[in-house]
């Protein structure tokens, strides 16, 4: 960094084993939960539940396994930016393709019959 580096604060954060175990347990529980959730028919909600659980799991991994919680905040900014731009990409493409959907010839795939 530009400021004279302060050598004393260099010690990394060691995550207690207790926390790691707890996160591992939570991840396993969430996995079971997400499988169980598919057994119930909630219509479109199922997708949101599945993605919600996945996001919760991913956040746990990020925050504790990857130390993001104790890290330089800018690293989190980098990660969030990446997600944001994927979101921009997907949503703008979706806006377009869902609109022109009716113009597609359904089931057009002539090469499959060769």
């Amino acid at each position: 960094m530009n400021e004279k580096a302060s050598h004393s604060a260099a010690r990394p954060h060691v995550v207690p084993l207790r926390v790691l175990l707890a996160v591992w347990g939570a991840l396993m529980v969430f996995t079971a939960l997400t499988v169980a959730a598919t057994e119930v028919d909630l219509g479109a909600f199922n997708l949101f539940i599945a993605l919600g659980i996945a996001t919760a799991k991913a956040s746990l991994v990020l925050l504790y396994f990857m130390h993001l919680r104790y890290d330089k905040p800018f690293n989190a900014v980098v990660f969030i930016c990446a997600l944001l731009f994927v979101a921009i990409f997907i949503s703008l493409v979706l806006v377009d393709t869902t609109q022109y959907q009716p113009e597609l010839i359904p089931g057009y795939a002539p090469e499959l019959l060769k």
Binding site: Y100, E103, L104, I105, Y108
Partner: protein
């Protein structure tokens, strides 16, 4: 607005006349309702751009001349920023580009909404030919339309992406395989206009040309009736020749003996050809019929099995006509 736009565009008074294209320097003469509108937007942007280009270049040259110093000059001071100035040159361009967007968008939307009373023509791009299908099923290699009536095009492609481009109508739309793109226009002047393929599509891309023929009032219907009844009007051999052109056989089969994508038709009839598996076949009615309906059944040696089937596209009568046409090309005829 329309009147105003027409004024600007047709008088061409804003820009110098050039004999090069028999029209103005920048755009060919407009020949559709949309073209007049588009030209107005073009002029609008043109003059904004011209203003800014002159502004930037003039200031630049002025400064270069006025503040020129010999090598070794000392650095000079001066303000390093000015908030009012900065706000001005952020906000003024902002409003200008908003206006440009709005004009372009408004005009585009006017021509994006298809009118209800249109006449339908279906357009198929195929390497490297356009095919225009009329409501009665007749297919032509050129686009014939009546003047003064909205024409609705439905575009698709049978191989790669092409793009139907008629500069005089300021119209362009891609023909994409697997989908039907829609476009419409209304021609304002009878005449013949150039059609290009604007999306790169391979070797013959720059040859993928056609004409848009705008018929004067009342003549289009006659033309269509006449053209569609070619089978009854023409002799079978002549009808076969017509099919040869409008159905795109000419894309692959020449008449002068040079092999293209497919074998030439010259001297084909009655000859003996060798298939890729060594089989020898005499070209007769049955073989030609099979070649057209099931091209992959027997593939001529030295050629790729790329000929499309014309099943459901050519009727039996059409095939008979083609056969008559082939006969006229037989050796010794």
């Amino acid at each position: 607005m329309i009147a105003h736009a027409a004024d600007l565009a047709t008088s061409g008074s804003l820009i110098p006349e050039r004999p090069l294209f028999g029209s103005s320097l920048w755009l060919p003469p407009p020949a559709s309702t949309a073209a007049i509108e588009v030209d107005w937007v073009f002029q609008f942007i043109f003059w904004i751009d011209a203003f800014f280009f002159v502004l930037v270049t003039a200031l630049m040259i002025l400064f270069l001349w006025r503040y020129a110093r010999p090598r070794g000059a000392r650095a000079v001071g001066g303000p390093t920023h000015s908030t009012p100035l900065e706000i001005t040159w952020t906000v003024v361009p902002l409003f200008i580009v908003m206006a440009i967007f709005y004009e372009g968008f408004r005009t585009y939307m006017e021509s994006a909404v298809t009118p209800g009373n249109g006449y339908d023509v279906q357009v198929t791009g195929q390497q490297w030919k356009w095919m225009f299908t009329y409501p009665n099923g007749y297919v032509d290699e050129n686009l014939h339309v009546p003047v003064g009536r909205p024409i609705r095009l439905t575009l698709t492609s049978s191989d790669v992406i092409h793009s139907l481009y008629i500069p005089a109508f300021r119209l362009k739309k891609d023909a994409v395989p697997g989908r039907f793109n829609k476009e419409w226009f209304q021609a304002t002047q009878p005449g013949e206009y150039q059609i290009f393929c604007a999306e790169y599509c391979g070797t013959g891309h720059s040859d993928m040309l056609a004409k848009a023929i705008v018929h004067p009032p009342g003549e289009f219907e006659n033309w269509l009736e006449n053209a569609a009844s070619y089978a009854s009007r023409l002799s079978p051999a002549e009808a076969g020749e017509k099919i040869y052109h409008i159905r795109g056989c000419a894309q692959c089969h020449s008449l002068d003996g040079t092999a293209g994508t497919g074998p030439s038709f010259k001297g084909l009839w009655g000859s003996t050809v060798t298939m890729s598996d060594g089989l020898k076949v005499v070209v007769d009615e049955n073989y030609v019929r099979e070649s057209i309906l099931q091209p992959q059944a027997k593939v001529v040696a030295g050629f790729q099995p790329v000929m499309p089937t014309f099943q459901s596209r050519l009727k039996d009568q059409d095939i008979l006509d083609v056969i008559e046409f082939l006969k006229t090309l037989a050796p010794g005829r």
